[in-house]
Symmetry: C2
Subunit: 237 residues, 2 copies
Protein backbone atom coordinates (compact mmCIF):
# COMPACT_ATOMS: atom_id res chain seq x y z
CA UNK A 1 0.00 0.00 0.00
CA UNK A 2 1.36 3.41 -0.93
CA UNK A 3 2.00 6.00 1.73
CA UNK A 4 0.85 9.56 2.23
CA UNK A 5 2.55 12.19 4.39
CA UNK A 6 1.90 15.80 5.31
CA UNK A 7 4.54 18.52 5.62
CA UNK A 8 3.00 21.48 7.47
CA UNK A 9 5.57 24.09 6.40
CA UNK A 10 8.05 24.31 3.50
CA UNK A 11 10.70 24.94 6.16
CA UNK A 12 10.27 21.33 7.28
CA UNK A 13 10.57 19.94 3.74
CA UNK A 14 14.28 19.06 4.17
CA UNK A 15 13.16 16.44 6.72
CA UNK A 16 11.10 14.61 4.10
CA UNK A 17 11.97 12.49 1.09
CA UNK A 18 10.32 13.70 -2.11
CA UNK A 19 12.03 11.57 -4.74
CA UNK A 20 9.64 9.18 -6.42
CA UNK A 21 6.68 10.97 -4.84
CA UNK A 22 3.81 13.06 -6.07
CA UNK A 23 4.02 16.34 -4.17
CA UNK A 24 0.77 18.25 -3.91
CA UNK A 25 1.42 21.88 -3.01
CA UNK A 26 -1.35 23.53 -0.99
CA UNK A 27 -1.75 27.28 -0.51
CA UNK A 28 -5.48 27.83 -0.05
CA UNK A 29 -5.19 31.57 0.72
CA UNK A 30 -4.46 32.10 -2.14
CA UNK A 31 -1.76 30.92 -4.54
CA UNK A 32 -3.02 27.45 -5.40
CA UNK A 33 -6.57 28.79 -5.56
CA UNK A 34 -5.30 31.38 -8.05
CA UNK A 35 -3.46 28.76 -10.08
CA UNK A 36 -6.49 26.55 -10.56
CA UNK A 37 -8.70 29.56 -11.34
CA UNK A 38 -6.30 31.05 -13.89
CA UNK A 39 -5.99 27.72 -15.70
CA UNK A 40 -9.77 27.25 -15.60
CA UNK A 41 -10.10 30.73 -17.11
CA UNK A 42 -8.02 29.57 -20.04
CA UNK A 43 -4.44 30.53 -19.20
CA UNK A 44 -2.04 28.45 -21.27
CA UNK A 45 0.55 28.17 -18.50
CA UNK A 46 1.65 29.63 -15.19
CA UNK A 47 5.32 30.03 -14.38
CA UNK A 48 5.78 30.18 -10.59
CA UNK A 49 8.88 32.12 -9.56
CA UNK A 50 10.35 32.94 -6.15
CA UNK A 51 11.45 36.52 -6.71
CA UNK A 52 9.80 39.75 -7.80
CA UNK A 53 12.61 40.43 -10.26
CA UNK A 54 12.15 37.11 -12.07
CA UNK A 55 8.47 37.86 -12.38
CA UNK A 56 9.20 41.32 -13.76
CA UNK A 57 11.62 39.85 -16.31
CA UNK A 58 8.92 37.49 -17.59
CA UNK A 59 6.46 40.37 -17.73
CA UNK A 60 8.95 42.22 -19.92
CA UNK A 61 8.91 39.19 -22.24
CA UNK A 62 5.15 39.54 -22.71
CA UNK A 63 3.78 37.37 -19.90
CA UNK A 64 0.90 38.55 -17.80
CA UNK A 65 2.36 38.81 -14.32
CA UNK A 66 1.02 38.32 -10.80
CA UNK A 67 3.00 39.40 -7.74
CA UNK A 68 1.96 39.42 -4.10
CA UNK A 69 3.86 40.38 -0.96
CA UNK A 70 2.35 40.79 2.52
CA UNK A 71 -1.01 39.96 0.99
CA UNK A 72 -0.95 42.95 -1.37
CA UNK A 73 -0.46 43.28 -5.12
CA UNK A 74 3.03 44.56 -5.91
CA UNK A 75 3.06 47.78 -7.91
CA UNK A 76 3.59 47.43 -11.62
CA UNK A 77 2.10 43.97 -11.96
CA UNK A 78 -1.11 42.89 -13.69
CA UNK A 79 -2.42 40.85 -10.76
CA UNK A 80 -1.92 40.35 -7.05
CA UNK A 81 -3.05 37.16 -5.40
CA UNK A 82 -6.82 37.34 -5.78
CA UNK A 83 -8.31 34.43 -7.74
CA UNK A 84 -11.32 36.58 -8.62
CA UNK A 85 -9.17 38.73 -10.89
CA UNK A 86 -8.83 35.82 -13.32
CA UNK A 87 -12.57 35.70 -13.77
CA UNK A 88 -12.59 39.30 -14.94
CA UNK A 89 -9.74 39.05 -17.44
CA UNK A 90 -9.47 37.34 -20.77
CA UNK A 91 -6.91 34.66 -19.91
CA UNK A 92 -7.37 32.52 -23.04
CA UNK A 93 -4.00 31.33 -24.29
CA UNK A 94 -2.15 33.73 -22.03
CA UNK A 95 1.11 32.89 -20.32
CA UNK A 96 1.12 33.97 -16.69
CA UNK A 97 4.12 34.48 -14.39
CA UNK A 98 3.41 34.39 -10.64
CA UNK A 99 5.27 35.13 -7.43
CA UNK A 100 3.65 34.91 -4.00
CA UNK A 101 4.87 34.94 -0.40
CA UNK A 102 4.49 31.24 0.24
CA UNK A 103 2.91 29.11 -2.49
CA UNK A 104 5.29 29.70 -5.38
CA UNK A 105 8.21 29.30 -2.97
CA UNK A 106 6.89 25.91 -1.87
CA UNK A 107 6.58 24.79 -5.50
CA UNK A 108 10.18 25.88 -6.12
CA UNK A 109 11.48 24.02 -3.07
CA UNK A 110 9.70 20.79 -4.01
CA UNK A 111 11.14 21.06 -7.51
CA UNK A 112 14.64 21.74 -6.25
CA UNK A 113 14.49 18.74 -3.93
CA UNK A 114 13.69 16.48 -6.86
CA UNK A 115 10.00 15.64 -6.50
CA UNK A 116 8.96 13.19 -9.20
CA UNK A 117 5.79 15.13 -9.89
CA UNK A 118 4.34 18.36 -8.55
CA UNK A 119 0.64 19.18 -8.68
CA UNK A 120 -1.29 21.93 -6.92
CA UNK A 121 -4.50 21.57 -5.00
CA UNK A 122 -7.20 23.74 -3.49
CA UNK A 123 -10.79 23.31 -2.36
CA UNK A 124 -11.71 24.55 -5.83
CA UNK A 125 -10.38 21.36 -7.44
CA UNK A 126 -10.39 18.97 -4.50
CA UNK A 127 -12.27 16.06 -6.03
CA UNK A 128 -10.15 16.14 -9.19
CA UNK A 129 -7.05 15.91 -7.00
CA UNK A 130 -8.45 13.03 -4.96
CA UNK A 131 -9.41 11.07 -8.08
CA UNK A 132 -6.01 11.66 -9.63
CA UNK A 133 -4.11 10.54 -6.53
CA UNK A 134 -6.27 7.42 -6.26
CA UNK A 135 -5.56 6.51 -9.87
CA UNK A 136 -1.89 7.36 -9.77
CA UNK A 137 -1.05 5.09 -6.80
CA UNK A 138 2.28 6.65 -5.93
CA UNK A 139 3.60 7.77 -2.56
CA UNK A 140 2.28 11.24 -1.84
CA UNK A 141 3.49 14.27 0.08
CA UNK A 142 0.95 16.98 0.86
CA UNK A 143 3.05 20.14 1.18
CA UNK A 144 1.37 23.02 2.98
CA UNK A 145 2.75 26.42 2.00
CA UNK A 146 1.99 27.99 5.39
CA UNK A 147 2.81 31.63 6.06
CA UNK A 148 6.43 32.76 6.11
CA UNK A 149 7.69 29.50 7.49
CA UNK A 150 4.94 29.02 10.03
CA UNK A 151 2.17 26.46 9.75
CA UNK A 152 -1.31 27.63 8.93
CA UNK A 153 -4.76 26.31 9.57
CA UNK A 154 -6.41 26.55 6.15
CA UNK A 155 -3.71 24.56 4.34
CA UNK A 156 -3.71 22.04 7.19
CA UNK A 157 -7.45 21.40 7.09
CA UNK A 158 -7.31 20.97 3.33
CA UNK A 159 -4.53 18.39 3.79
CA UNK A 160 -6.72 16.73 6.43
CA UNK A 161 -9.60 16.62 3.97
CA UNK A 162 -7.44 14.93 1.31
CA UNK A 163 -6.18 12.44 3.91
CA UNK A 164 -9.70 11.56 4.89
CA UNK A 165 -10.64 10.88 1.28
CA UNK A 166 -7.62 8.61 0.80
CA UNK A 167 -7.95 6.86 4.16
CA UNK A 168 -8.85 3.45 2.81
CA UNK A 169 -6.38 3.39 -0.06
CA UNK A 170 -3.15 4.69 1.42
CA UNK A 171 -1.22 4.15 4.62
CA UNK A 172 -0.25 7.15 6.68
CA UNK A 173 1.49 7.32 9.97
CA UNK A 174 3.34 10.59 10.18
CA UNK A 175 2.25 12.75 13.06
CA UNK A 176 1.55 15.79 10.92
CA UNK A 177 -1.25 13.71 9.35
CA UNK A 178 -2.78 13.38 12.81
CA UNK A 179 -2.69 17.13 13.35
CA UNK A 180 -4.14 17.91 9.91
CA UNK A 181 -6.91 15.34 10.28
CA UNK A 182 -7.80 16.56 13.78
CA UNK A 183 -8.19 20.12 12.56
CA UNK A 184 -10.19 18.99 9.55
CA UNK A 185 -12.57 17.00 11.72
CA UNK A 186 -13.24 19.93 13.98
CA UNK A 187 -13.56 22.37 11.10
CA UNK A 188 -15.30 20.47 8.34
CA UNK A 189 -18.88 21.36 9.16
CA UNK A 190 -18.18 25.06 9.01
CA UNK A 191 -14.69 25.85 7.66
CA UNK A 192 -15.37 29.58 7.51
CA UNK A 193 -16.23 29.73 11.19
CA UNK A 194 -13.41 27.36 12.14
CA UNK A 195 -10.90 29.55 10.33
CA UNK A 196 -12.24 32.85 11.64
CA UNK A 197 -9.46 33.32 14.20
CA UNK A 198 -6.68 32.01 11.98
CA UNK A 199 -3.97 34.44 11.06
CA UNK A 200 -4.36 34.51 7.30
CA UNK A 201 -8.14 34.72 7.47
CA UNK A 202 -7.80 37.78 9.70
CA UNK A 203 -5.16 39.27 7.43
CA UNK A 204 -7.36 38.93 4.35
CA UNK A 205 -10.48 40.08 6.17
CA UNK A 206 -8.66 43.20 7.35
CA UNK A 207 -7.71 43.90 3.76
CA UNK A 208 -11.38 43.64 2.73
CA UNK A 209 -10.85 40.35 0.91
CA UNK A 210 -13.77 38.33 2.34
CA UNK A 211 -14.87 37.59 -1.22
CA UNK A 212 -11.51 35.93 -1.83
CA UNK A 213 -11.91 33.84 1.32
CA UNK A 214 -15.38 32.65 0.30
CA UNK A 215 -14.18 31.86 -3.20
CA UNK A 216 -11.10 29.96 -1.99
CA UNK A 217 -13.28 27.83 0.31
CA UNK A 218 -15.65 26.88 -2.53
CA UNK A 219 -15.62 23.17 -3.12
CA UNK A 220 -15.09 21.59 -6.54
CA UNK A 221 -15.85 24.56 -8.71
CA UNK A 222 -13.33 23.26 -11.24
CA UNK A 223 -12.41 19.84 -12.57
CA UNK A 224 -8.76 20.10 -13.44
CA UNK A 225 -5.25 19.35 -12.16
CA UNK A 226 -2.44 21.88 -12.49
CA UNK A 227 0.92 20.12 -12.75
CA UNK A 228 4.45 21.33 -13.20
CA UNK A 229 6.05 20.55 -16.54
CA UNK A 230 9.54 22.01 -16.70
CA UNK A 231 9.13 25.41 -15.12
CA UNK A 232 5.46 25.84 -16.03
CA UNK A 233 2.22 24.77 -14.43
CA UNK A 234 -0.14 23.49 -17.11
CA UNK A 235 -3.31 21.43 -17.22
CA UNK A 236 -2.99 17.70 -16.79
CA UNK A 237 -4.62 15.93 -19.74
CA UNK B 1 -3.72 40.47 27.79
CA UNK B 2 -0.57 38.44 27.32
CA UNK B 3 -0.19 36.17 24.34
CA UNK B 4 0.59 32.47 23.97
CA UNK B 5 1.99 30.79 20.87
CA UNK B 6 2.90 27.26 19.86
CA UNK B 7 5.95 26.24 17.82
CA UNK B 8 5.44 22.68 16.61
CA UNK B 9 9.09 21.94 15.78
CA UNK B 10 12.41 23.47 16.88
CA UNK B 11 13.18 23.88 13.18
CA UNK B 12 10.46 26.53 13.02
CA UNK B 13 11.78 28.42 16.06
CA UNK B 14 13.66 30.98 13.91
CA UNK B 15 10.24 32.23 12.76
CA UNK B 16 9.23 33.14 16.30
CA UNK B 17 10.30 35.84 18.71
CA UNK B 18 11.45 34.50 22.07
CA UNK B 19 12.90 37.60 23.71
CA UNK B 20 10.90 38.66 26.73
CA UNK B 21 8.96 35.39 26.66
CA UNK B 22 8.70 32.35 28.86
CA UNK B 23 9.54 29.37 26.66
CA UNK B 24 8.16 26.07 27.83
CA UNK B 25 9.98 23.19 26.17
CA UNK B 26 7.87 20.06 25.66
CA UNK B 27 9.27 16.62 24.87
CA UNK B 28 6.74 14.18 26.33
CA UNK B 29 8.46 11.03 24.96
CA UNK B 30 10.71 11.40 26.88
CA UNK B 31 13.20 14.16 27.71
CA UNK B 32 11.02 16.60 29.61
CA UNK B 33 9.34 13.68 31.38
CA UNK B 34 12.82 12.52 32.43
CA UNK B 35 13.79 16.00 33.57
CA UNK B 36 10.82 16.40 35.90
CA UNK B 37 11.26 12.84 37.24
CA UNK B 38 14.99 13.22 37.90
CA UNK B 39 14.44 16.49 39.78
CA UNK B 40 11.55 14.93 41.71
CA UNK B 41 13.89 12.07 42.63
CA UNK B 42 16.25 14.56 44.20
CA UNK B 43 18.76 15.45 41.48
CA UNK B 44 20.42 18.77 42.30
CA UNK B 45 20.62 19.87 38.67
CA UNK B 46 20.38 18.68 35.08
CA UNK B 47 22.70 20.08 32.43
CA UNK B 48 21.13 19.61 28.99
CA UNK B 49 23.72 19.38 26.21
CA UNK B 50 23.39 18.89 22.47
CA UNK B 51 26.27 16.52 21.81
CA UNK B 52 27.33 13.11 23.10
CA UNK B 53 30.88 14.36 23.60
CA UNK B 54 29.82 17.23 25.85
CA UNK B 55 27.81 14.77 27.91
CA UNK B 56 30.80 12.44 28.17
CA UNK B 57 33.03 15.30 29.28
CA UNK B 58 30.65 16.14 32.12
CA UNK B 59 30.49 12.46 33.07
CA UNK B 60 34.28 12.53 33.34
CA UNK B 61 33.91 15.44 35.78
CA UNK B 62 31.75 13.31 38.06
CA UNK B 63 28.25 13.99 36.74
CA UNK B 64 25.79 11.18 36.28
CA UNK B 65 25.13 11.16 32.56
CA UNK B 66 22.13 10.31 30.38
CA UNK B 67 22.45 9.93 26.61
CA UNK B 68 19.88 8.79 24.09
CA UNK B 69 20.02 8.47 20.32
CA UNK B 70 17.41 6.79 18.10
CA UNK B 71 15.46 6.03 21.26
CA UNK B 72 18.26 3.90 22.76
CA UNK B 73 20.72 4.47 25.61
CA UNK B 74 24.16 5.31 24.25
CA UNK B 75 26.87 2.91 25.42
CA UNK B 76 28.99 4.06 28.32
CA UNK B 77 26.36 6.30 29.91
CA UNK B 78 24.49 5.85 33.19
CA UNK B 79 21.04 6.43 31.73
CA UNK B 80 19.21 6.49 28.44
CA UNK B 81 15.95 8.37 28.13
CA UNK B 82 13.64 6.34 30.39
CA UNK B 83 12.16 8.36 33.24
CA UNK B 84 11.64 5.14 35.22
CA UNK B 85 15.40 4.80 35.67
CA UNK B 86 15.39 7.81 37.98
CA UNK B 87 12.99 6.06 40.32
CA UNK B 88 15.42 3.19 40.76
CA UNK B 89 18.54 5.27 41.40
CA UNK B 90 19.59 7.38 44.36
CA UNK B 91 19.54 10.81 42.72
CA UNK B 92 19.74 12.88 45.91
CA UNK B 93 22.09 15.80 45.42
CA UNK B 94 23.42 14.37 42.17
CA UNK B 95 24.34 16.46 39.16
CA UNK B 96 23.04 15.00 35.95
CA UNK B 97 24.14 15.72 32.38
CA UNK B 98 21.69 14.84 29.61
CA UNK B 99 21.67 14.67 25.84
CA UNK B 100 18.67 13.45 23.83
CA UNK B 101 17.66 13.49 20.17
CA UNK B 102 15.19 16.32 20.40
CA UNK B 103 14.43 17.74 23.83
CA UNK B 104 17.86 18.93 24.94
CA UNK B 105 18.42 20.35 21.47
CA UNK B 106 15.20 22.37 21.75
CA UNK B 107 16.29 23.75 25.13
CA UNK B 108 19.65 24.75 23.63
CA UNK B 109 18.00 26.51 20.68
CA UNK B 110 15.63 28.48 22.89
CA UNK B 111 18.56 29.55 25.05
CA UNK B 112 20.66 30.54 22.05
CA UNK B 113 17.82 32.64 20.65
CA UNK B 114 17.65 34.61 23.88
CA UNK B 115 14.48 33.40 25.62
CA UNK B 116 13.92 35.36 28.80
CA UNK B 117 13.10 32.23 30.75
CA UNK B 118 13.06 28.53 29.86
CA UNK B 119 11.01 25.97 31.75
CA UNK B 120 10.17 22.38 30.85
CA UNK B 121 6.78 20.74 30.96
CA UNK B 122 5.25 17.30 30.76
CA UNK B 123 1.98 15.65 31.72
CA UNK B 124 3.78 14.68 34.94
CA UNK B 125 3.89 18.32 36.09
CA UNK B 126 1.15 19.86 34.00
CA UNK B 127 -0.84 21.60 36.70
CA UNK B 128 2.30 23.12 38.25
CA UNK B 129 3.18 24.54 34.84
CA UNK B 130 -0.31 25.94 34.29
CA UNK B 131 -0.36 27.61 37.72
CA UNK B 132 3.07 29.08 37.16
CA UNK B 133 2.21 30.51 33.75
CA UNK B 134 -1.01 32.00 35.12
CA UNK B 135 0.88 33.70 37.95
CA UNK B 136 3.80 34.84 35.83
CA UNK B 137 1.66 36.72 33.25
CA UNK B 138 4.31 36.96 30.54
CA UNK B 139 4.04 36.17 26.85
CA UNK B 140 4.53 32.44 26.39
CA UNK B 141 5.92 30.20 23.68
CA UNK B 142 5.16 26.48 23.92
CA UNK B 143 8.05 24.84 22.07
CA UNK B 144 7.43 21.25 20.99
CA UNK B 145 10.62 19.22 20.56
CA UNK B 146 9.15 16.97 17.87
CA UNK B 147 11.23 14.21 16.32
CA UNK B 148 14.26 15.10 14.22
CA UNK B 149 12.75 18.28 12.91
CA UNK B 150 9.28 16.87 12.27
CA UNK B 151 6.24 17.68 14.34
CA UNK B 152 4.86 15.03 16.66
CA UNK B 153 1.49 14.30 18.11
CA UNK B 154 2.25 13.79 21.80
CA UNK B 155 4.02 17.14 22.22
CA UNK B 156 1.27 18.82 20.23
CA UNK B 157 -1.59 17.47 22.35
CA UNK B 158 0.24 18.50 25.50
CA UNK B 159 0.59 22.03 24.08
CA UNK B 160 -3.12 21.89 23.25
CA UNK B 161 -3.88 20.91 26.83
CA UNK B 162 -1.89 23.85 28.22
CA UNK B 163 -3.63 26.20 25.76
CA UNK B 164 -7.02 25.00 26.90
CA UNK B 165 -6.13 25.66 30.53
CA UNK B 166 -4.97 29.19 29.70
CA UNK B 167 -7.83 29.97 27.33
CA UNK B 168 -9.49 32.61 29.47
CA UNK B 169 -6.35 34.37 30.61
CA UNK B 170 -4.24 34.68 27.48
CA UNK B 171 -4.83 35.62 23.88
CA UNK B 172 -3.69 33.24 21.18
CA UNK B 173 -4.11 33.48 17.49
CA UNK B 174 -1.28 31.64 15.84
CA UNK B 175 -2.42 28.79 13.66
CA UNK B 176 -0.23 26.20 15.35
CA UNK B 177 -2.40 26.78 18.42
CA UNK B 178 -5.42 25.74 16.38
CA UNK B 179 -3.72 22.52 15.28
CA UNK B 180 -2.55 21.67 18.80
CA UNK B 181 -5.95 22.37 20.33
CA UNK B 182 -7.75 20.34 17.66
CA UNK B 183 -5.57 17.31 18.32
CA UNK B 184 -5.95 17.73 22.08
CA UNK B 185 -9.73 17.87 21.80
CA UNK B 186 -9.88 14.67 19.78
CA UNK B 187 -7.35 12.90 21.98
CA UNK B 188 -8.10 14.05 25.50
CA UNK B 189 -10.54 11.35 26.51
CA UNK B 190 -8.08 8.61 25.71
CA UNK B 191 -4.59 9.92 24.92
CA UNK B 192 -3.07 6.45 24.82
CA UNK B 193 -5.49 5.31 22.14
CA UNK B 194 -5.24 8.60 20.25
CA UNK B 195 -1.46 8.31 20.13
CA UNK B 196 -1.38 4.62 19.21
CA UNK B 197 -0.56 5.24 15.55
CA UNK B 198 1.84 8.11 16.18
CA UNK B 199 5.43 7.58 15.17
CA UNK B 200 7.13 7.91 18.52
CA UNK B 201 4.54 5.79 20.31
CA UNK B 202 5.19 3.03 17.79
CA UNK B 203 8.93 3.46 18.08
CA UNK B 204 8.84 3.12 21.88
CA UNK B 205 6.35 0.27 21.78
CA UNK B 206 8.58 -1.63 19.35
CA UNK B 207 11.46 -1.17 21.78
CA UNK B 208 9.34 -2.67 24.57
CA UNK B 209 8.96 0.69 26.36
CA UNK B 210 5.18 0.67 26.98
CA UNK B 211 5.87 1.30 30.67
CA UNK B 212 7.66 4.52 29.70
CA UNK B 213 4.69 5.58 27.59
CA UNK B 214 2.23 4.98 30.41
CA UNK B 215 4.45 6.82 32.87
CA UNK B 216 4.96 9.80 30.54
CA UNK B 217 1.19 10.13 30.07
CA UNK B 218 0.55 10.17 33.84
CA UNK B 219 -1.02 13.44 34.89
CA UNK B 220 0.30 15.58 37.73
CA UNK B 221 2.43 13.01 39.50
CA UNK B 222 4.79 15.80 40.52
CA UNK B 223 4.38 19.37 41.70
CA UNK B 224 7.48 21.14 40.48
CA UNK B 225 8.84 23.38 37.71
CA UNK B 226 12.23 22.72 36.14
CA UNK B 227 13.77 25.96 34.89
CA UNK B 228 17.05 26.81 33.24
CA UNK B 229 19.48 28.82 35.35
CA UNK B 230 22.70 29.40 33.46
CA UNK B 231 23.34 26.05 31.80
CA UNK B 232 21.51 23.96 34.41
CA UNK B 233 17.91 22.96 34.91
CA UNK B 234 17.02 23.25 38.58
CA UNK B 235 13.86 23.41 40.65
CA UNK B 236 11.95 26.66 40.69
CA UNK B 237 11.46 27.80 44.29
Amino acid sequence: MKNIEVCLSPELLPFYEVNDKVVEVIDIFRATSCIVTALAAGAESITPVAEIEECKALQAQGYLAAAEREGDQVEGFDFGNSPLAYLETDMKGKKLAMTTSNGTKAIGMAKKMGAEEIITGAFLNKTSIVKYLLEKQKDILLLCAGWKGRVNLEDSIFAGNILDELLNDFSFNNDACGLARSAYHLGKNNPTRFLTDSSHFQRLKNKGRMEDIDFCLTLDKYDLIPFLKGDKLILKD
